[in-house]
């Protein structure tokens, strides 16, 4: 049977031979790159619809396909993107007992007004019993200063927020019509949410409203809450002027209709956008003409401006398609206004975008960008080393070796995130400030940065990170001083017991520190903290849980002693949900139970302030206040480092006065990719048009 024998030996030989040839072929394949950029990411985008995506993989793809009305420039200053300009205004309405009083108040104000411009007052009108101020700057403080000149006290407006079990429809309008005594001055509703502003007696109105609504919509799930709002109607306005001549990638013109559509889609329950809450304070959005969009807010909320960096969707493609069809169509093949057009998405492999020749800022230099999905951290690195991807987010332990190698360019910056230990302030042992200060002195953060981050990080000084424009650099970090820690603990009544562990009133200073497994940095932190605290006589037990269990069973319920966690923050300064005393319930984000009247006031004020300098001042105060209170032991801000093959790209971007700036890829405040559309491969430099 020589034939069978040949096959038995021949098939394995053949397989081996073809594989050997294929290795040879792949190895000698031309290494010349196409004029494209290759970016790797561990995760796969969930969707390419920027309204619905919440993952960073999707954000990096949609970031080059779409534009928002506004954007952060390379220095993290807000500038126009699809909007060529924007202006801010506010209308503040005060209510008086009678028209005579309103006239009187206006006259008193007029007589005391010294500097209209300083208070941004543009004009005022008296309308019956109302005095309406039109201001060139939104916020509360200017109006309050003007109100102090009235001489006559205006009537206080109160606000009730409503969450109903089903859409409210016209229920609130009907209620207003049937209850003249409530003196309702503004009604707002959107789906299940509503809001009433009124002058009548708060308790009576609330009771009447509750009764009315439970008859209309049912009782279960009906929530009424008194909203902290200025005692007058403060309605800020943002007016966007849209850029001329912008076209969608399919050739249709971009107009205010698209903005309006995007806003409506965000508010549509069927779209289930994780960004919806950013727009819930919008009272109305209208488009007076093709180039203008006017947004009116229910009350001053300055972080809202940032929400207009949200990508705008094409109305002409989506208006007539039900949102539940989007995942099958638009979300897999989006059309935007950005520098690159969607080309193909091979699931679990890559998303490819190609150059948009009609991009409104000019033709990008690269032919395209390929976003590869490489789910394993090690192979991501291998892909970088074989130049299958051009960039790589280096692990801290590897930064040193790349830094020494001059074939690479490194981009390093403190990340917008920090790690911390949260003390559960509901537990008696952590309620004494001296104890929390002692803990901060006892833990050696420098050593932690050295061992955990290989030195690539800095000590955190509170709720903001150093790259943010409102960061307060004057906050001094706690220094490692075990002696001082012992002294503070002794002062608080904790004395060493028989086994060397501190005791007070018969209770040992022992607690459990929990974190999630699968995160090496957090488990290392826990171990180091355990050792540092042992040295001052505190016994720490470390427990680790799977992420979902950790969040659901412990963190969200507030059932823990201390927790190792981190916050990854955006560019925004509003941290109301993390620190306000109203956010300490189950499933809310102030899980350590921090309550401070002073912090509450600052958090509210920051939201209502639009002036950049004042925001910086208030944020600085807030950062200092919370750092002094030590509800967290703020540990460190890790440094993020990306590495690029030095010869891979250069940047050639439009300069300030029509010139072109040609430079190596540089780190900016907004990261290395701030000028992504102007990257080019030096070997294709001859093709550049400008």
């Amino acid at each position: 049977m020589p034939r069978v024998r040949t096959l038995i030996v021949g098939i394995p030989l053949l397989l081996t031979a073809v594989t050997a040839v294929s290795l040879w072929s792949v190895a000698r394949m031309s290494s010349d790159k196409k004029n494209e950029m290759y970016i790797g990411s561990i995760g796969e985008p969930t969707t390419l619809n920027p309204l619905q995506a919440a993952d960073s993989a999707a954000a990096s793809v949609t970031g080059v396909i779409f534009n928002g009305l506004l954007k952060y420039n390379a220095d993290l200053v807000i500038e126009g993107d699809l909007a060529s300009g924007w202006s801010l205004r506010q209308r503040s309405t005060f209510f008086f007992a009678s028209p005579e009083e309103a006239v009187q108040a206006a006259a008193n104000m007029e007589s005391q007004l010294v500097d209209r411009a300083a208070l941004h007052l543009q004009k005022y009108t008296v309308d019956g019993d109302r005095l309406v101020l039109e201001l060139g700057m939104p916020g509360v403080s200017d109006s309050q200063k003007l109100a102090a000149m009235f001489g006559v006290a205006p009537r206080a407006a109160k606000t009730i927020g409503i969450t109903a079990p089903k859409p409210l429809g016209d229920a609130l309008k009907d209620f207003a019509a049937q209850n003249p005594a409530a003196q309702i001055v503004r009604v707002w509703f959107n789906g299940n949410l509503g809001e009433l502003v009124f002058l009548g007696d708060a308790a009576i109105v609330r009771a009447a409203l509750e009764k009315f609504l439970s008859e209309r919509t049912g009782q279960e799930g009906l929530v009424l809450e008194d909203i902290v709002a200025p005692p007058f109607l403060a309605e800020p306005e943002v007016i966007f002027t849209l850029r001329e001549g912008v076209r969608w990638q399919d050739g249709a013109p971009f107009t205010s209709r698209d903005v309006k559509f995007t806003y409506n889609a965000l508010m549509d329950d069927r779209v289930a956008s994780p960004r919806k809450s950013d727009y819930e304070l919008v009272l109305s959005l209208d488009a007076p003409d093709e180039r203008t969009v006017r947004v009116v807010y229910r009350r001053p909320f300055s972080p809202a401006l940032e929400s207009w960096m949200m990508s705008v969707l094409p109305a002409h493609l989506l208006e007539d398609v039900a949102p539940d069809q989007w995942p099958l169509t638009f979300n897999r093949a989006p059309v935007g206004t950005g520098p690159f057009k969607f080309a193909e998405w091979k699931t679990n492999q890559f998303v490819r975008v190609v150059r948009n020749d009609d991009y409104f800022r000019g033709r990008p230099h690269l032919d395209g960008i390929v976003f590869r999905v490489l789910p394993d951290p090690l192979t991501l690195r291998l892909a970088f080393e074989t130049r299958q991807i051009d960039f790589w987010g280096v692990d801290p332990w590897a930064v040193g070796s790349f830094r020494k190698d001059d074939r690479f360019t490194l981009f390093s910056a403190p990340s917008n995130s920090y790690n911390y230990i949260g003390w559960n302030l509901r537990k008696p042992m952590f309620q004494d400030l001296r104890v929390r200060e002692a803990l901060a002195h006892a833990v050696n953060v420098d050593q932690m940065i050295r061992y955990v981050l290989y030195g690539y990080g800095e000590q955190s000084t509170g709720i903001f990170t150093p790259e943010m424009w409102f960061f307060n650099p004057k906050v001094k970090p706690f220094i490692n001083d075990p002696e001082k820690a012992r002294a503070l603990l002794a002062e608080a009544g904790w004395k060493p017991g028989a086994d060397g562990i501190l005791e007070k009133d018969g209770q040992r200073f022992a607690f459990t520190l929990i974190t999630n497994n699968g995160n090496a940095i957090r488990s290392d932190i826990a171990t180091l903290v355990q050792a540092d605290l042992k040295a001052v006589g505190i016994e720490v037990t470390v427990e680790m849980y799977e992420w979902a269990v950790f969040i659901k069973n412990f963190v969200n319920k507030g059932e823990f002693d201390a927790v190792v966690l981190g916050w990854a923050l955006g560019q925004g300064y509003d941290q109301f949900q993390i620190w306000h005393s109203s956010q300490t319930g189950p499933d809310q984000l102030n899980m350590v139970g921090y309550k401070s009247a002073e912090a509450d006031r600052l958090l509210q004020q920051i939201r209502e302030e639009f002036d950049r300098d004042t925001i910086i001042k208030l944020c600085g105060e807030l950062q200092q206040l919370i750092y002094d209170d030590q509800p967290y032991l703020f540990l460190f801000v890790p440094q993020g480092t990306s590495v690029m093959w030095k010869d891979a790209f250069r940047v050639r971007r439009p300069g300030p006065d029509g010139t072109w700036i040609d430079e190596p890829v540089k780190m900016t405040k907004a990261g290395w990719s701030a000028y992504l559309e102007w990257f080019y491969r030096p070997e294709y430099a001859a093709q550049l048009e400008n």
């Binding site: 290795l23 010349d32 999905v373 192979t379 963190v555």
Partner: protein, 320 residues
């Protein structure tokens, strides 16, 4: 024969029902939620979460959720929670890549397993057999992910060849042969690592079965007739020893479909294993249930086919 097939199919349907019930409830026992935007995102309001739960029936009791999933699975409307695409479409997308990868691994396991097994049997008890046995045991003991990393690092360090995905990206190929060889290379890397265990196991099966067969009376008779030793070995003994290979194929069928979780992840290979793995991490219940269901159905089918093949190759086996 027909009665046998019908009976087996009926049993399979019942089995499939229980498998789907158990897999659904085990999956939902896992803590965690399928929110695509993480648990601690301050921007996601309760309202949005509620709408999301309603959309995927997550607000219903578990048995109703199960009913919804099964209904949608059979009407073909079952959508993934992650990206809201039809689950069957997602599975269909991955199937070709997984089939190619596992057919490659199967070809390697069978061909090399047969070669090594026969070689060992032929030299039973002598040094060549000892050496192949040791190799087989080492292969069985090697953890696949570890070998994958070593191979990947070695190839990148020494040959600087791309190894990830199904093909090299960003290179202009000059001809069809290059495209073919590039694909072949990208499949053969993970496939040969997947095949390591298969080769070892197959070779042991073939070796044991050959040695057993060689002791049979009819082999002695054949030899006594004075038949050429090669004819005895390759015609008479081999044909009767390949039953274990069929068992092997039967066992490998589920792997053909379900993919290889770890290896697919390391080599960034877009197969079913990765789909399942990602669905677990994302608590994408519909995708998981559908995947389990499809895999279980194919396993049952594979077993049935293996049993039928037995009867075909070995007349001594009767299907009642």
């Amino acid at each position: 024969m027909t009665a046998f097939i019908i009976r087996r199919l009926l049993v399979s349907v019942v089995l499939l029902f229980f498998i789907s019930v158990i897999s659904f409830f085990i999956i939902t026992l896992t803590p965690g939620s399928p929110y695509p935007w993480g648990e601690l995102n301050p921007k996601v309001s309760e309202e949005v979460k509620r709408v999301f739960r309603e959309k995927f029936h997550l607000d219903r009791p578990l048995h109703e959720q199960y009913a919804f999933i099964m209904r949608d699975l059979f009407t073909g409307d079952l959508r993934s929670i992650k990206d809201e695409r039809p689950v069957l479409q997602k599975i269909g997308e991955r199937l070709p890549a997984t089939l190619v990868l596992n057919l490659g691994a199967l070809a390697l396991s069978l061909s090399f397993g047969l070669l090594l097994g026969i070689y060992g049997a032929k030299h039973a008890g002598r040094p060549p057999d000892v050496i192949t046995s040791i190799i087989a045991f080492i292969f069985i003991a090697l953890p696949g992910f570890w070998v994958s990393y070593l191979v990947a690092i070695a190839l990148v360090d020494w040959a600087a060849v791309p190894i990830l995905g199904t093909h090299t990206i960003g290179v202009a190929f000059t001809d069809g042969a290059q495209v073919f060889l590039d694909r072949w290379w990208h499949v053969m890397m993970p496939a040969s690592i997947l095949a390591i265990g298969g080769i070892a196991v197959q070779s042991r099966f073939v070796r044991a079965s050959m040695i057993e067969t060689l002791r049979e009376d009819y082999i002695r008779t054949a030899r006594a007739k004075g038949l050429d030793e090669n004819a005895v070995f390759y015609r008479h003994a081999l044909r009767n020893s390949i039953r274990p290979l069929i068992t092997g194929i039967g066992m490998l069928l589920p792997a053909l479909i379900s993919g290889a979780v770890i290896i697919e992840n390391i080599f960034a290979y877009p197969g079913m294993g990765r789909l399942g793995y990602e669905a677990v991490l994302e608590r994408d219940y519909p995708t998981l249930v559908a995947l389990n269901f499809v895999t279980a159905a194919l396993v049952l089918l594979g077993n049935l086919v293996a049993d039928l093949l037995y009867a075909v190759v070995d007349p001594r086996v009767r299907l009642e």
